[in-house]
Every structure is written in structure tokens, then in C-alpha cells.
């Protein structure tokens, strides 16, 4: 006897099978003439520079952590949502209190700035007044304060 979840398992198996068959099928048709340049990691035609496995912005991990907490709590709410009508107002209040605690946690994270993402800092170009001697050597360089102030006002 096949249960409903057994059918889902067949769906999964079929999808895996389909991808494998499709990739193998093209293997018999397509050419395979690898060269050293083709097998290089793509970096817009340049030789790849350094390891791509770089240090990542810590924000991604904070988002993942907050997601984990929220997701677990949302999953806990599903059974409540299915059955709260049986218990009337007290049943609703239990869920509502849980939701409010969740909301308070959210407010805390918001206040702590964990929901802020690094914003691009706009740096207006600073205009410099450069004077050169006749030989082309830089003699003096001073900031033109008025013009940069104007630029900052615009930003």
C-alpha cells in the first residue's frame, strides 16, 4: 500500500532521475574538447585572482540566525492555527501572547540594529585646485572648499 508521502517520494525520485537522464543524454551528443583556458574559472576573461572562498559580511550570518529563530517559532504556530477555534478566546490569547513575545523579540533586534544592512556611503568627489609650473611639475594643491560644500548640499 502506497501512502500519500510515498507518492511524494516518487515525485522526488522522478525529479532526480529526470535530471540525471537529461545530463547523461546530452553527454552522448555534445562535444567534449576541453582546453586549459576553457577549464579556468570564469572571471570576465582575466586569469582568476586569489581564492574566491573569501571572508563574508557578518550580516549574512546574523540574518540566518534571526531567520532560524523566526522560522522555528512560525512552525510552532501552525498546530495552534489549525486548532485554536476549539478553545475559543483562551486558545486565541495563548497564540496571541506568543506572537506578542515574538514581536517584542523582533523590536529588540530592530532597536539593536541587527536589521540594518550596510548602506553605501556617498562620498562626493573633492575638487582640488592644482597649479603646475612650466615644466609640468605639481607645485601646489589645495582643496576648493566652496565647491565641495556645494556638492555635499546637493547630496
Amino acid at each position: 500500500m502506497l501512502t500519500e508521502f510515498g507518492k511524494i517520494f516518487i515525485f522526488l525520485l522522478l525529479a532526480i532521475f529526470f535530471v540525471i537522464v537529461a545530463v547523461l543524454f546530452s553527454k552522448f551528443i555534445r562535444p567534449a574538447r576541453p582546453t586549459k583556458e576553457k577549464l579556468l574559472t570564469y572571471e570576465c576573461g582575466e586569469n582568476p585572482e586569489g581564492s574566491p572562498w573569501i571572508k563574508f559580511n557578518i550580516r549574512f550570518y546574523v540574518v540566518a540566525l534571526i531567520f532560524l529563530i523566526f522560522d522555528v517559532e512560525v512552525v510552532l504556530l501552525f498546530p495552534w492555527a489549525l486548532s485554536y477555534k476549539e478553545f475559543g478566546l483562551p486558545g486565541f490569547l495563548v497564540g496571541a501572547i506568543f506572537l506578542i513575545v515574538l514581536g517584542l523579540g523582533m523590536a529588540y533586534e530592530w532597536r539593536k540594529g541587527d536589521l540594518e544592512w550596510a548602506r553605501p556611503v556617498i562620498q562626493p568627489p573633492v575638487l582640488k585646485k592644482q597649479t603646475y609650473s612650466k615644466d609640468g611639475i605639481l607645485v601646489s594643491e589645495e582643496k576648493a572648499k566652496e565647491s565641495s560644500a556645494v556638492l555635499q548640499d546637493q547630496v
Partner: protein, 356 residues
Amino acid sequence: MYNLLNNLIGNEYVAAVIAAALPLFVFILPFALAAVLLERKVSAFMQDRLGPNRTGYRGLLQTVADILKLIQKEDITATDADKKLFNLAPVLVFAGCYAAFAAIPFSGAYIGADIDLGMFFIVAISSLVVAGILMGGWASNNKYSLIGAMRSAAQMISYEIPTALVILSLVLVTGTLSLHQISEQQTAYFWNWNILGGAGLGFSKLLLIPFMIVGFIIIYISSLAEVNRTPFDIPEAESELVAGFHTEYSGMKFAMFFLAEYANMFAVSSVVAALFFGGYQSPFGYLGNTLGISWLVPLEQFFWFTAKGMFFVLVQMWLRWTLPRLRVDQLMTVCWKYLIPYAFVNLIIVGLITLL
């Protein structure tokens, strides 16, 4: 459909395999062929171009030609890539997105697996796609891929929470998680759809309407983000990241990612349609019932389901060519500071109203 096949063939496992293969070969592959062409045509007309018009009559065979080309393309795996994970990623992405189709009711007569936890299952199995994308991006050993994969994962998991909260508020109204039953409850006419307060009559139905519309908007925005469509396409922002997590993929493996993306587009659209717009139910009764032809009804239901799904896919395409891409900080702000608080408040108010 499963029972019909079972009676016809006499072996339940063979019947189950055929029933499971139906959405793939009858629906997803033709849909992907049509949708790719449609997207190119829609974008062309929006930008005042002609679009593909050389292959076949007015370019109708363009995607078939593309598929033939993709099959013949050389499949390159970079020497630096992690081969095992690199090959596993398209399998996971496609399997995760195809398994979601198991719980989607295409018509009253066909549903892959009629489980009570349908909606919950779809939310859960979609996470397999995130794992596949992260795996592909990491195994490619490419900077663009890794940045794209990280952004994609952060975005998809963030937008899962507003989706789940809206589904939760809908569960408060319908009292079931099975998409089949949710569709059945919205039967007969369009004023029974959940976006118009569900099938019940009375004061609470009227009160529910604005909150259902808010819920629909929230779930539609987050479903756009979950399939990485514009305006939320920073994971594969082509002007900065080449192609995002699938930069290194070529040939048939790339085609699998592409197919999964289009299948996912339809999956989220049809889930939205099933939750809020009656699923496979016709808005004005069935021709088959009026004429007394019973086998016409499931076909009509299939037509309405496809039409509703295609409508939301078209809206996705329309949005893609209308709105500019969001920045990564704007993306997170939209999710965490707007959608989730609104969805929270919406959930509590809907809970109060259904208690009345």
C-alpha cells in the same frame, strides 16, 4: 486520476510513477517552452522591439531551437570546482522545485499527493532549492557564484517568513493546510474566493476582505523574492554578477537551473492562485454541470487553474520589465521592517475576526 490509472494498469507503483510524471511531461516542459518565448515576446513589446521572429512562424519555434542548442552544448566543469557538489546542485534545485508540484492540485481530479499538510510541505520543500543554490555557488569556486549564492540564500530565507505568516493567517480562516481542501472550500462563484473573505456568509466575511487583500499583496511580493525575479533579482544581477550562482554552469546543467526557475515561477503563482483566488475553481460555475457532461468538469478546472497561474506569471513578467532592481539593503529593509511587521499585525487581526 491516480485511482483511474491504478484501475487501468493494476499495479499501484506503476500508476504512482505515471501520475508523478504527468505534471513534468504534460505541464512543466510545455509550460517552460511557452513561458520562455512569452517572456521574450512580452519584454520585446514592452521595449518596442519585435522579439524573436525568425525560427518558425513568427518565432514560435525559438525555444525549441534553444533547447536543441543547449543539448548539444559542451558541458564545462572548471578544474577548480568541487566536482561532486557541482553536479549535485542542479539535481537538488530541480528536485526541490518539482516536489512542490506534488501538493499542488491541478484540478479536482488530479493532485499528486493529497496530504493534509500540503501548504506546510510546500514551504518546507522549497528550502531544498536554497540548499542547492548555496551548494552550486560554493562548489563553482567562482567569486560571482559565491556572492550570488549568498545573496540568494539570505533573500530566500528572509522572504520565507512573511510567506509563512500569511499562510498562517489563511489557515486561521480556512482551518486546513491542504491545498485541495482550501480550493474545495472556495467553490461555486468568485465571491467565495478567499481574497473576498472566503465561503462563509455574514459580517466577518466583510471584515476579512481588506486584511485578505493585504495578505495577498504581502505573499505576492515575497513569492517574487523567493523565485529571484526582478525587482528582487540581485542574486543574479546580470550587470554586476554575470549570472549569479550559475555563472559556471553550461550545457544541460544550466538548462536544468533554467527549467527549475520557470517551474518555480509557475509553482509560486499557482500557490497564490490556490490560496486566494479559488485554485482550480471556476469563477462562474461549470459548463459541464449545465450540460450534464461529468468528464468536462475536471478539464474545465484544469483550464481555470492554468489560466490563473499563467495570469500571475504574466504579472511577474510585467513587473520584471517595469520595476528597477532593489539594492541589497533596500531588499532586507522591505522584508524585515515592512512585510514581516505588517504580516504579524495582519495575522493577529485575522485571528480576532475569525473568532467572532
